[in-house]
């Protein structure tokens, strides 16, 4: 069996195969990534490290994160990379960016759903203030070519089943007087602030609205449907679905996610927003089955374990705009994505 790192390397090689032309504007530049040590950040660094090693991209990256030292320890192959410079800091107190920065990916945000419940004020503060700080600092750069604001597919608000695929223009008001709304509201505020900022300063800025993902490096401790399912299955426990399993989501594989983000950074149109997610819908019951089939005997799938009837929701992006303008496509179908993720979790750290 391939080691985890070997699997990640073959994923990055596959997603970049024949697709590096789109990313050419990034060659030879310096990218600043805020929050560069999370799931997305790790994958971005994997892709960039492959671009540098295999495709002579010569990209330099400054990674700004609160947990930079921990990251370097956990991911030595990335931590020791000469092109990567790790800066430890809290985005709320960011005042300046490295002068040579030409591209920025602003991904720093509190995204842990558990925190939305236990410490929603911190979520609101870090996500909104962090964006303000970063944009103010970006304004002092000499040669900023593009700034990618990583927002969220949740800015569209709750969606009914009738919305087959969400387009970038859609807008839906939702109750904002609820602490549960803080994450989506912080992202909506970030977008609104970014739009005002662009109007005032003309800084080139593109918005990415990620939906849901799956893949290596994603922490199984996060209580999302797919991570819950994989964690429970790996532990030999049955999968529990609160409702009847008809809720619909879509999941983009990690390497595609990172590639799409880099493509949006390299060739997204300033002032435009792009959905970043899989257009392939899946209901939770089918997703659970997709996971359990990799185990023998397959663990049970229990539905309706919740008390009340759960309203069925659907959250699937329309990604025509990203396809058209960024030239991206889904290279890892969901079934593969699930298999690769399970393999990665089963694999040893190193071979």
């Amino acid at each position: 069996m391939k080691s985890r790192l070997e699997q990640v390397r073959s994923d990055t090689a596959a997603v970049l195969d024949g697709r590096t032309e789109r990313l050419k504007p990034l060659a030879g530049t310096t990218i600043f990534i805020s929050g560069g040590t999370g799931f997305l950040g790790t994958w971005l660094l994997e892709l960039i490290s492959a671009l540098n090693a295999e495709h002579q991209f010569d990209i330099r990256v400054a990674i700004y994160s609160r947990s930079a030292p921990d990251f370097i320890r956990r991911h030595r192959h990335l931590g020791s990379c000469k092109a990567f410079r790790f800066l430890e800091g809290d985005i709320r107190f960011l005042t300046e960016l490295p002068r040579e920065t030409q591209y920025i990916i602003h991904a720093a945000a509190l995204t842990d759903r558990r925190l939305f419940a236990s410490n929603p004020t911190a979520v609101g503060e870090v996500n909104s203030l962090g964006t303000i700080r970063l944009l103010r600092a970006a304004c002092l750069l000499e040669d900023l070519r593009n700034l990618l604001l990583v927002s969220s597919g949740l800015v569209y608000g709750p969606q009914s089943l009738a919305v087959e695929r969400i387009k970038e223009e859609s807008s839906n008001g939702f109750p904002c007087d609820n602490p549960n709304a803080i994450y989506s509201e912080s992202k909506r505020f970030s977008e609104a602030f970014a739009a005002s900022f662009v109007s005032e300063t003309k800084v080139p800025l593109v918005i990415a609205r990620p939906f849901a993902f799956v893949g290596p490096y994603q922490s199984l401790a996060l209580p999302w449907a797919v991570t819950d399912f994989i964690r429970d299955t790996l532990a030999g426990r049955p999968i529990k679905i609160m409702g009847d399993g008809s809720t619909v989501r879509s999941l983009l594989y990690a390497s595609d996610f990172a590639y799409w983000i880099l493509a949006a950074l390299a060739c997204g149109q300033a002032r435009h927003a792009y959905n970043i997610g899989s257009p392939e819908p899946v209901d939770l019951l089918s997703l659970a089955k997709m996971i359990t089939q990799h185990f023998t005997p397959p663990p049970d799938i229990l539905t309706r374990v919740g008390q009340s009837d759960h309203g069925t929701t659907r959250l699937v992006p329309c990604v025509e705009k990203a396809r058209r303008e960024l030239g991206v496509q889904l290279t890892v179908p969901l079934a593969d994505a699930i298999q690769r993720t399970i393999n990665w979790h089963r694999a040893p750290e190193i071979s």
Binding site: S199, K202, R271
Partner: protein, 345 residues
Amino acid sequence: MRSQRILLTDPTLRDGSHACSHQISVHQIRRYATAAEAAGVDYLEVGHGNGLGASSLQVGLSLVPEQEMLRAAKACLKATGLSVHVMPGFATAKREITNAMEIGVDLFRVGAHCTEADLTQCHISYVRNAGKEAWGVLMMTHMASKDVLLEESKKMESYGAQGIMLMDSAGAAVPDDIRQKIGLLADKLEVPVGFHAHNNLGLGVANSLAALEVGARILDGTARGFGAGAGNAPLELIVAAMRRLGYNCRADLYKVLDAGELAEEIFSENLPVSNSITIVSGLAGVFSGFAKPVQRAAKQMGVDPRDVFVELGKRKVVGGQEDLILEVANELAARQKQAGANQHP
């Protein structure tokens, strides 16, 4: 929609200033203003090519001081309003705008480069607070997307602008650009939207008609196209085409044609023509008002004026940066010399 009357603004005595290196005389002003009044254009715009306060060594000195120009025009106008172009950075509210108000200017068209609308806040507010009409003007509009133009127009609207003009100052636009840009503004703004063409690519009239087609309510046209670069959309052609298409305006076709004849007579030496320089200027997207100074500098430095335009286009110069012309011509001359030296060691 065609029953809506189209406002015609005639900047012959302002844009034409560029065409004659700012040498319009009081006599020419009196004669043309009288003809414009008779023709029934809604506003006649008078002054230096870059507007109030722009008579300068940088852009060119006006033959006649601006207050004299305005007074001479005002005396010939009754039903036609007197308009001026105002660019913050050249003109100040307390000095130039106040003086123009005292002379009786009716309309102040406050302009800025198409991404810099916030520069006009103070001037538009000042005009509105004095009870006069103010429009916002976005210049060099080929350099911004329709979304940016909408955002910038809305800023001007919020400062109190009662009309928004898009100027294709470089004559670089094609009808489809205009349909998209004017179309969006006409759809989203509360105030009327207008268009000001330059004819570098021979599309002045076509672009103006495209603007009407998507809802523009104001058009600029100059007699015989007397304006910067390859000139503007000729007023007489606009009025004729509007009649053909069934658009309404206050102007009288025959009298507009007469005004055109008069312009041909009194401005005969400086009527704009299309030539290789104006075409390259349009393609390079350089402000049409640069035509004369570029030719002057190119001659002095012994370089091809077309190269100067291409280089200026690369540098994305904006109106008011005439000093760069000399620098660019100087650099091209040095490069030429260098190349020559390399060829004959």
